[in-house]
Symmetry: D2
Subunit: 348 residues, 4 copies
């Protein structure tokens, strides 16, 4: 860490800071600048206490950390991208994967219809929420166990692996019986107890970025999972909260680039939540391909205008099929391969 | 809800919207304006499905909800402020309560010293984290059960009721044995499974606002608790995430005023997290009193410069004692009474 | 506008609101809902006073505007995209234009070298700042008139039209002599006096979105220009200010899509400011093409590591040439044509 | 500045960075840490080029500035608070000043009535906009020169000094004839050309914080003025733009504290824009007094429900008079004196 002193600090004051730095296990190196004196504290910031509390000392102006706090997921530690397998589907090895399905599982028929439609259009994983975290306690909260049973059925019928959200440790066994990948949603993205419990199942984890999480917090959430011995994490950018109201969230594609540079995890994009508007899903999906994301997750519903949750950000089967067709040249221009071609061929 | 149509919508299109509105259980009233036609949909928005998915219809421009989604905690439903009792301490009946203690329980001696110091200066409730949600998995995570045992001891020695954070349903029994009030932290503020589990204990809940929660989301989180039959909720503003970096968070006192107008719950302010800078705790505490908050929660540590967590936002005993003295005229000018005077008298 | 009343409003109160609505020139239509009564006020919101001050009446809960405030630039008014010509270069007619050049004009040689390099790689317009608005008064403020003279020279040598920023009405004649398009920067994006002065020159205007401007404010800034009779406006998304610090700004591609749907103006993207990191310029440029933007504006410098301004977000000649090559398939997949091919052919 | 190198940087790479640092006029001091090597560059960051472009070098991870960029207004340079005089009214010498008046000057009578009412309640300066920067070009833009004439009249009648906004250099002479203090509004807060022109008039400047300006940017805007030799700057916090929509802006009182610690300028608070809701003006004004601000600026209108601009954030005469009465104990508890007592006495 770098401790920036107030201008005019005396030798005694500098010595006091050096003493505190040593006390906390670091080795101080003092550099007297023209305007400011700084004390560089040498030592591993991850394993030592933070020096930020030294801002209590009257001669300390600021304390600047210099080290990154994530290690296991860092590209610095291990440069090659991690490959995460979900059923037979690979993320991180050059294939662009499309996860699709309804926001909520609303019934057996609508789910199976959707699963078939998205598979036939080229999706490789089925999404669908059985447990729904909703802002209002009066909104539809998902079908729960029954929803999981429908997902089992849809998996059986279509052969697609399934990702579904875990919102409570209480549901973990039930969710694990059905899910090929566990989703941690934005509201629970900093719920470390849930992250650790999910990690311990050994299942791949789809980790959404928190509503207002920095890239660093997002990567450290992934580090929590990796630290439990589960490196099968896929990061998912889903828009952040900003002042703009024309879109529900602001999709932060720059953060996807940064996450891919900093970490070795695959990163996918959620254009449905990313804008919260069905009419922006197609262009934002193309943009996700263009920046080199490893895939997208899209909400698809047989009749969005009457969906029980988030109807305004789900698209219809036709729109999804068109999206998939449009996507291919962007995926290929980005040097990747659009997975799911086999599905499409089989369906045609 | 109000459905705003695209300009130039035809009679057939208007009829189609009216049909969908009826289908979803509302009664449509159409008003043809000079520039826009709007369809007002009459019906209880809380119990009916949202009409927002109607934005899928090509002639629909926007859908505007008009109703508030919280009921049980609403001041509209019940105008008088709820009184929440924690041990013998009352929030909402005109007393300004000061909750104080260390960020984390770091040991028995430091905790008891702090508890005594804050009680003698006028604090009425002791705070202290045993389970700490930390951004990095490598940071100090709290003493856990041992921390709770120290809190029991401090309660016994000082007579102060205790508030401590619950981060996982797994710890709920242990936390309940010690806590007179359960804190739900900012990271778990939208973790509805945890909110419901905490609600079911019947304990008073100190509900922090999420890092980027709107006032509406914050109040709806409280509604989740109230809907389980537990109306003993105290709201706590702790700063929101904004672009400003001179302070760790931006304390949103306007939101405190809005929360007090909209809901009938007591609202307190956390100036420690609110700015994330120990040197702003005093002025922001005075501001909290000035706007009519029901109290504050302040982090106090015997030696913040070496604290194991958040040392840069904790204050020393002396500073806390000075803060308490300064606070009184502001509390009284706001027409409230500074609780804890008995403690101070006994200590002197 | 829609006026939402407090629940429990009496008939007298409703009549009072209706009276005020009439007084302000609107026709009231009252709809008594199950939970709320709303008064729909029929009348042109753009030409009448806002009803928002009615929130002063005790029985009024909220006032919701329903109408959009922009007209001249609205796609609703005129559905086809405006074509804006800058020199011989067209925006809005299906060609993807690349504007490139240094952040600041630092000297004649560096400018001409850069102009040649970007033209030969396919750029069609030269950018370069002569008057630089800098956060610190001690930073390099641009070469001013001398900078304009160098731009004239570069235009003569390369044949590229020039866009340069106007920061003060005092410089308007000088800037107009050189500029084929006037840039209004993010800091002046809501400086309406400058917008109007720029509009009155009749030159095409490159209008950057303000640092924290909503899409609505951005479009209304364009409406200010159009209202002076100058419809030659190109909108430019350049990243917005959010809490995220991994990038200097957060590029908001969703807003580009919304701006294109709402307005009929061409919209381009500035990936240099959009992230503030040179290493993200390539992927974000590809994303801009993928969503259907009409072009990009990129900062290019012969030696960014010693640039006098914003060196960390400028790219070198080689990187720019690579970017241009990579861009083509994305532009074409988006159904557009990459302009500047003639330049490249001539250069090879 | 501190240059943080990539881990694993070689001796040659370190030497290259040291070379560049020297080339740019700084003296490098290299510290090899356990995890990271950092190069501290000694030299005045204000007068030298930024080293941030060194992020282009492949072995450079990040560059951290350590120095503050403001000097003339810094409390570090000169510890005592600047006293700024406007007419006979002093800011910065322990008196709490209340500036009040309508958002816009709408006519002679309404202005004089308001001026009398606010003076008699204890306001010491009259505010009123003659030139109004409005988001929509179709909104009321102020009475211009006629508005200034009314302000002259109101000044003559009430003896109150006047502050009014300058939005364009073209109006500067006219505004200066009337204004005792020039207001720079939030939209022009980073319009440096306007700041410099205003500075050169020698008049005191009321400098609002930009909508999304950091404290640093706000102080540097003041530094622009001071650098022209005009140190008579009063800073004004008026709320920042955040994701929260319950209030129009988020009043950032923590920033007021930081601005007062960092700079020696008086700082006042605008509770009208700070929340954009008339019903929060009273509590937020009390909070402003409680944190030690040097005053407030409040919008007051004879009949806000029909105001031509911002009626929803203006208060009536009675409310203003009550606010002034309520304010006194808070101002006094903060160790300041409520100015304007003479006005009140004379009026009674």
């Amino acid at each position: 860490m770098i401790i920036v002193l107030q201008s005019g600090s005396t030798d005694e004051q500098i010595a006091e800071v050096e003493g505190k730095v040593r006390e906390l296990g670091y080795v101080p190196h003092t550099i007297r600048g023209e305007v400011r004196t700084v004390v560089a504290a040498v030592g591993d910031e991850v394993t030592h206490s933070s020096l930020e509390p030294l801002s209590h000392l009257p001669m300390v102006d600021r304390v600047l950390p210099v080290q990154k706090k994530y290690k296991l997921i860092s590209r610095e530690t291990q440069p090659e991208t991690a490959v995460v397998r979900v059923g037979g589907v690979e993320f991180g090895s050059g294939q662009f994967q499309v996860i699709a399905g309804p926001c909520s599982v609303e019934g057996e028929e609508m789910l199976i219809d959707t699963a078939r439609a998205v598979r036939d259009a080229g999706a490789t994983i089925l999404r669908g929420g059985a447990f729904k975290p909703r802002t209002s306690p009066y909104s539809f909260q998902g079908l729960g166990q029954q929803g999981l049973a429908y997902l089992d059925k849809a998996k059986e019928v279509t052969g697609l692996p399934v990702v579904t959200e875990l919102v409570s440790v209480a549901d973990i066994d039930a969710v694990c019986r059905t899910a090929d990948m566990i989703q941690i949603g934005a509201r629970n993205a900093l719920n470390y107890a849930l992250l650790e419990a999910a990690a311990d199942t050994g299942k791949p984890i789809l980790l959404k970025r928190g509503m207002s999480a920095t890239v660093e917090e997002w990567l450290l959430a992934a580090e929590y999972i990796a630290k439990r011995g589960n490196g099968n994490v896929i990061l998912c950018e889903r828009g952040i909260r900003t002042y703009e109201t024309a879109t529900r969230n602001t999709l932060d594609l720059g953060a996807v680039c940064v996450a891919k540079r900093e970490s070795r995890l695959p990163v996918i994009v959620d254009p449905s939540h990313g804008a919260g508007r069905w009419d922006l899903i197609e262009p934002l999906s193309r943009a996700a391909a263009a920046i080199g994301a490893d895939g997208i997750i899209v909400e698809v519903h047989p009749n969005p205008a009457v969906a029980l949750s988030d109807g305004d950000q789900q698209i219809e089967f036709d729109t999804f099929a068109r999206l998939m067709k449009e996507l291919r040249p962007f995926v290929e221009a980005a040097g990747m391969e659009l997975a799911g071609a086999g599905n499409v061929a089989a369906a045609t």
